[in-house]
Structures are given as structure tokens and as C-alpha cells.
Subunit: 467 residues, 2 copies
């Protein structure tokens, strides 16, 4: 227990530092060391910032220091964005200064071969001897929107606060994913930890930190290689019972493994082993980035359904049949709806309408309009005791925010049942309804398969962790 | 041969009618029979339009007739949007009037059970005895942007002309797909044929028509059930050699089959049989709608590569490794690049940069900027004799239309090599680059897996049809 809480405390400095030195702070727009500093300023980082640059003078309005040692204040964290040849010297300086953590953006370590590996080894030795922790090297590092702080070297506007933590291995990819989440999704993040080469701080350190982080409800991980398999497994297994974890790993295949090795120097290891670890730890695997965010979104806002019994409400039976295929392939059971459920819908349908599951509401829409048609079928489905989750295949007959307002009360009335929505049809309608529906904590997906897969991920989580 | 050319001629009336009766034309906005008429007017259908409605007077500015028989001109095509109870009488009238084809939007036939099946049988008898062809019932029917004509009952703006034909079974789903294509894709369509219950006109009739349609370069099919397996197979096998066909079929699973049966009354049949038919006919299967449009887009604008030897150009080796996994799983070979290829890139990279395939151009971007970095790697890859296709993992360091202009000359210089692009990162950049790159006949996909799968579909096509 002691070492664990020490672990959490030694990692906390990366997320909530009181003072930061930016080593390699640059006056040239576009340079990494310029962007890192600029981000801290635009984010209004609440602690002290010390730019470090061999040439004295101000940088972006802050007085620069010619070295870490020259800073006349304590420094908790150092962000390193300088050429690889200088990193070891700076690390020694940081160690001498009593810096608690370094985020090393610089690349040129394990990932470039033997010489780099020696450099990384020496870096680690310096850090360990001083009790200093390292994130990286070869990474973008940290984002914490709650205690506004980031070491990201891509220019970045505010990151929405939210309930999902994102642990990523590699800089550029994680940065691009983050840009995508911030511009194309509605959910927010609790923290982002880009771990790069994982020379010191590894996934399990971050998972331990997240265990006590109240902002975090679900965790998404992008993994190239796991550093300490045993500790990863043990930490993940404890955590995922209360905070679901979904993970995407590259290097599943020989070609991917070869590419990953040349990247962060990660030995991706046997995929079968990783798969077994995930299964036993209760981690739900995602096979690509879309799945990773879809699953995390689902975990952060939906209850875990008691069974896989599913109702489908659709405007198009073609789409309903395709969804049925996907449900069947994903192990979701299209449940037989109770007579009382079908009766509620039949009352607003022509007599010849054949009602089943999926419930095709096309004829009801013609009689009572899209809002009443969808509302009737969705409420009936969720009220059905046989149903533990509902897939809603929305279509562009629902047009405006007010057309989907009924979903707010639907969500509140059935908090124990999971809901997944996809919207088919025109792009502009999708763009309107996507935020309008997610506002009610109901996740929306751009395609049928993704909406079904996200439901299936919830059920996979239940199977791994609750059965 | 005779029956085949007769087939083409008897189907032509659905795509290029000179005169159309809209039976069930309505004065009430929002009603199907109102929208069908409105679409014909806004599309500026060049032939004659005759609204038919029991109440005399104008509809949308056109004189209405109380019955088909009352129209004092020849009528080539009748679009039927009336309650099912009246359809047989109108069919008899049409037969008497010498109408050549009926598009029957009305539902309530095979798909509702025995009574409906009897109605469909009688409908067919009437049509056959008069040499009249039927599209439907239970469908949206036809879209032809080249000879502006549509029977669609969803309000629809102009449909972009293009090289892809879309044969779909079911009305609502096809309509929603079409909305999506028109609002979220850049490519255009040559025709859309929604066949509904396929009581008479079936897939093979449309394929025969497309064989002689110069506008069509590739065909996407959404299938619930195949009507005449033998003719489907024979027609498709001939056609796909020159005009690639991709098909998505619902009812692959027991649940999907049950749902499809309740929809268009289609017996979806054994999926294994359908799969064998596709394989032997040279049809590339798609498993969902995203794949269907991705594959068709690829077929319409990319050459069929001579081998599966692939080069990957990426800004993020994480994404490169993930792409490598997908390539491996899809049977695409990440080829060993020639020394001369790597040398071209090495000249613009720092000495320690490790170059391989995937080519990570991050360091080159830092030295020479994103445009020059991407251009150098892409040109080098495509010039490599070992490479027959190139996956470009674009990222938001490419920002504007002018950043990707070099792709125009790249596309022209290597017309025999296939290119597939995905763009990672911020949504607004994606939205800018998506049309900017597709303008050069280079397809762009929103995710890595989709970009790889589309390349794999081209190779699947080659394996089925050229090897």
C-alpha cells in the first residue's frame, strides 16, 4: 500500500504541478518549444512558468532563464523540448535542482536503436538517483483541463472537461486523436497522458492516479507496448470494476509490430498474451480509434445493462435488418417484445402493420408524425421488462433539437437501461441532432455498425466484470 | 441476345421516360404524392407530367386528370402512390392505356403476408398480359440525374451526376443512403434504382441496362434478396469485368433474415450461397453502408493495382503501425522500398531518421515543412517499381487546399497506381481537405481502417476478376 500511494503522489506532479520550467522555450512561432509555452499561456496555467533558453530576454512576455539552475525559485516539473544531445545534461541539472518530474518531448532514445537506448538508460539512472519521475521521452506528455495544464507541442485551444481519461503512448498520433475528439465529439476529457517510450512512468502509474481521480469515470488507452505486464494487469483489474477501461493496441500483427518497434522502441509482444491479459483484467479491447472513442463514450455515459436483451426502433426495416445482422454477430439478443409493448405501438399504426423487433415505425410516422412515432416506440420498448437496452435508428425525419427533446425524459425514466442511437440520412441533420441528443447523455454514432458495436462493448464489459 | 436487348429496352422507360403519370398526386404538402410531383418539377423533368387525382383541378400548377384513362396523351410511365386497395384497378387501367412501365411506391404486397402476396401475384399477371414492366411495389423507384427524372417520395434537391450506379432494394433505407451520399460525399451518381419487392424488374434487368450505360463506371448494390439467382450471377459476371460491382446484403444472419422477410417479403437465402455467387461472379462484398460507398468510390476513380504491394506514407508512426496491422489483416503487402526511394527521403531528413515502410515523415516535416515532406515521400513511393499502391495518412499539418495541390500532378504521373488517403486530426481541416483532394480523383476516407479496407477492396477485385 505504501509504495502505491507513493506512486500516486510521485505521478501527481505531472497533472497538477505548481511550477513548470519549459526547457527549450523558443521565440520562433511554430517551434515545439514556442508552442508548449504558448499553450500554457493561452490555457492560463495557474502555476509559475519559467522559460529556459540559452539566449536571455523575454519569451512570449515571460522572463527567460539561461538554465534550469539559474531559476531562482523551486521548480516542480520540467518540460524538455531540446535536441537529444543536451537532454542528459539538463536531466542532471534538474536532478540537482530538486525537480520532481520531467516530461521529455525530445525523441532520439530507445526508438532509434542502441545509441538511443544507452541514452535512455543513463537518463533513467540520473532520474532514479534523484527520485525524479520521467514521462517520455518521445512524447507529447500531459493534458489536464481541470487544473489547466498541458505539455502538448501542437497548438491547442481549450480542452473540454469531461469524464474520460485518455492514456496514449505516442505523441503525434495522440495529438491528432485529441484534435479529433475536441473538434468532432461532444464529450470531454479528465486527463490525457501521453507516455511515449515509457522509460519510467508507465500505464499502471497513471491507472493508480486515476483510481483516486474523481473526475474520471472511464478510461481509454492507446497502447504500443506494455511495460510491466504484471503491474498493468493488477492495477487495471482493480480499477476497471468501477471505471471501465477500453484499450486499443497496435502491433497486433507482424507488420504492425515491426512498425511499432521502429517508433517508440516498444516490443509489442504477443497479441494473444495481451488479449488474455485484457480478458482477465476486464478490459474491453477496441480495434481502431473509432471504436476506442465510441466505447469510452458509451462507458462514460451509459449504465451497464443487466442482460444483452435488446430492442431496436427504426424508421427503415432495411436498416433494422442490417442492425439485426450486426446484433446477432455481436451476441446481442433481439428480444421478443411483450404483447403490451406491441399494443402501445399498434394503437398508433394502421391495422395491417406487422409489429415485431426491430419495430418499424414508418407507418406510425405517417399517421402521427415522427416525434410521436419515435417517442411511442422508444418508451414502449424501454418500459418492456424483457428489454435491457435499446438501439434507436434515427433518421432525418427528426430534424430539429425540439424533435428529440422527448429523449430527455426517456433517459431519466429508465436510468438502468442502455441506449445507443445512430442517425441515418442527411449530414446537416446529423450535425444538428448529434449534439442535441448527446446533451441528454445518450450517445450518438454516425453508422449502424458503430452504434451496435458500442452496445456490444457494454455487454462485453458486463460479461468480463460482472458475470 | 434478342431477349436481352428486349430487356434493356423494356427497362429503359424507367430511366428515360418521355411522359409520366403521377397517380395519387396530392395537393397536400408532405404527402408522398405531393413530394413525387414536386421533385419532378424542381428537377425540371424534360418530359410530360400528368398528375392523377380523383378531384379535378390543378396540382402544383399542372392540370390533374381524374384517372389514367382520362389522360388525352400517350403515357410511357406511371408512378403509383395510392393506397394498396386501388393499385390493381389502376394497373388494369395502365395496361389498357398502353403504359410501358409502372413504378409502384405503394406498400402492402408480398411483405405483409398471404393477402399481400395474392395482390402482388395479380398485379404481375395484369402487367405481363399487357407487356408492361413493374418496378416495386414498395419502393422509392428511380433517380436519373442525366435525364433528370425521379420517382423519389422524399423531397430531394439535385443529385450530382457521376459514375456510380446504385441499385437498392428498399425505399426508406435507399432514400436515407442517397441523402447521405448527396450531403456527405463528393462523388455523383449515374442512376439509382430502388427495386422494392422486385415483383418484376430485378437486379439483373438493371445490370443489363447499366452494361450499355456509358455514364456508369462502377455499381453499388444494396440487396435483401436475389430474385433470379442464375440470371443475377450471369449478368453480374459479364458486367463486373469492366464495371466493378460491390454489394451489401442484409439478412446474413438468422435475425437479419427474419427482419428482412417482414420488410420486402424477401427470402434472403443462405449467406454461404450468396457469398459463393459473389465470389464466382467477381462481386466484392461490403458488410455495411460505409464500406459500400467506400468501395464504389474506390472502383469509380482508382486503377486496379497490378499487385497488392503497398507503400504507406505517414506523419505518425503510431498511425503507421495501426495501418500496418490493417494492411496485414487485409492481405496487403507492405513492400520493401528500394534504396533509391529511401534515399530521396533521407536527403531531406536528419541523419538519424530511420526510414522504412511505413515511411514516417515527421522529421522531414520539421526540416522542410509539411507540403515538401509529404510530396517527397509520396512521389518517391509511387516512383518505386515495387509499389503498386500508396496509402497516404494525411494529418492536419496539411491545412489548406493549396497544401495538397501537388497531389494533382502526383495523380497524373502515376495513373496505373492506386492511392487511398485518410486524414487524421481536426474536423475542420478534414472538411477542407476532403473535397480538395477528391477533386483530383484521389479518394479520401475519415478513418485508417476505411482507407485500408478500400485499398483491399481493389485488390480483392483484382483477385476475383484478373487472376
Amino acid at each position: 500500500m505504501k509504495s502505491e500511494s507513493a506512486g500516486v503522489d510521485s505521478v501527481r506532479v505531472f497533472f497538477e504541478p505548481r511550477s513548470v520550467a519549459v526547457v527549450g522555450a523558443s521565440r520562433t512561432p511554430g517551434k515545439l518549444g514556442n508552442t508548449v509555452l504558448k499553450n500554457l499561456l493561452t490555457w492560463k496555467f495557474p502555476g509559475q512558468i519559467f522559460p529556459v533558453n540559452p539566449n536571455p530576454g523575454d519569451i512570449l512576455g515571460l522572463p527567460a532563464y539561461t538554465s534550469v539552475s539559474a531559476i531562482p525559485h523551486p521548480v516542480e516539473l520540467a518540460v524538455i523540448a531540446i535536441p537529444m544531445d543536451y537532454v542528459l545534461d539538463v536531466a542532471r541539472e534538474c536532478a540537482g535542482k530538486g525537480v520532481k518530474g520531467m516530461v521529455i518531448i525530445t525523441s532520439g532514445f530507445n526508438e532509434i536503436g542502441e545509441e538511443g537506448a544507452r541514452r535512455q538508460q543513463e537518463l533513467l539512472r540520473i532520474a532514479r538517483s534523484a527520485g525524479m519521475r520521467i514521462v517520455g521521452p518521445n512524447t507529447t506528455g500531459i493534458v489536464n483541463p481541470y487544473h489547466p495544464f498541458t505539455t502538448t507541442f501542437v497548438e491547442m485551444g481549450a480542452v473540454r472537461k469531461g469524464a474520460i481519461a485518455f492514456i496514449a503512448q505516442t505523441g503525434m498520433f495522440a495529438g491528432l486523436m485529441l484534435q479529433r475528439i475536441m473538434t468532432a465529439e461532444n464529450f470531454g476529457l479528465s486527463i490525457v497522458a501521453g507516455l511515449g517510450n515509457k522509460s519510467d512512468v508507465a500505464d499502471h502509474d497513471i491507472l493508480e492516479y486515476l483510481a483516486q481521480d474523481d473526475n474520471t469515470k472511464a478510461i481509454m488507452m492507446y497502447i504500443e507496448g506494455v511495460k510491466d505486464g504484471r503491474r498493468f494487469y493488477e492495477t487495471a483489474r482493480r480499477l476497471t470494476k468501477t471505471k471501465p477501461i477500453t484499450a486499443m493496441k497496435i502491433g497486433r500483427t507482424p507488420e504492425g509490430a515491426r512498425a511499432a518497434l521502429s517508433h517508440t522502441g516498444s516490443l509489442t509482444g504477443s497479441d494473444a498474451v495481451f488479449d488474455a491479459v485484457c480478458r482477465q483484467a476486464g478490459i474491453v479491447r477496441a480495434s481502431d480509434f473509432d471504436e476506442l472513442i465510441d466505447f469510452a463514450k458509451m462507458f462514460a455515459c451509459q449504465p451497464v445493462p443487466k442482460t444483452s436483451r435488446t430492442a431496436v426502433v427504426t424508421l427503415s426495416m432495411g436498416a433494422g435488418a442490417l442492425a439485426s445482422d450486426f446484433c446477432y454477430e455481436s451476441g446481442l439478443e433481439l428480444v421478443k417484445l411483450k404483447p403490451a409493448t406491441l399494443e402501445k405501438v399498434a394503437r398508433k399504426s394502421p391495422s395491417w402493420a406487422k409489429l415485431t423487433n426491430p419495430m418499424d415505425i414508418e407507418t406510425m410516422v405517417e399517421l402521427v408524425g415522427p416525434v410521436e412515432g419515435y417517442r411511442t416506440a422508444i418508451e414502449a420498448a424501454l418500459a418492456d421488462e424483457n428489454v435491457d437496452q435499446c438501439l434507436i435508428i434515427g433518421a432525418t425525419v427528426l430534424q430539429t433539437e425540439s424533435d428529440v427533446r422527448f429523449l430527455e425524459s426517456v433517459r431519466k425514466a429508465y436510468p438502468q437501461k442502455a441506449i445507443s442511437v445512430c442517425i441515418l440520412g442527411a449530414k446537416d441533420v446529423y450535425e444538428r441532432l448529434f449534439p442535441a441528443i448527446e446533451k441528454y447523455q445518450i450517445p450518438v454514432f454516425p453508422g449502424l455498425r458503430r452504434a451496435v458495436n458500442a452496445l456490444a462493448a457494454l455487454n462485453r464489459y458486463r460479461q468480463l466484470n460482472r458475470e
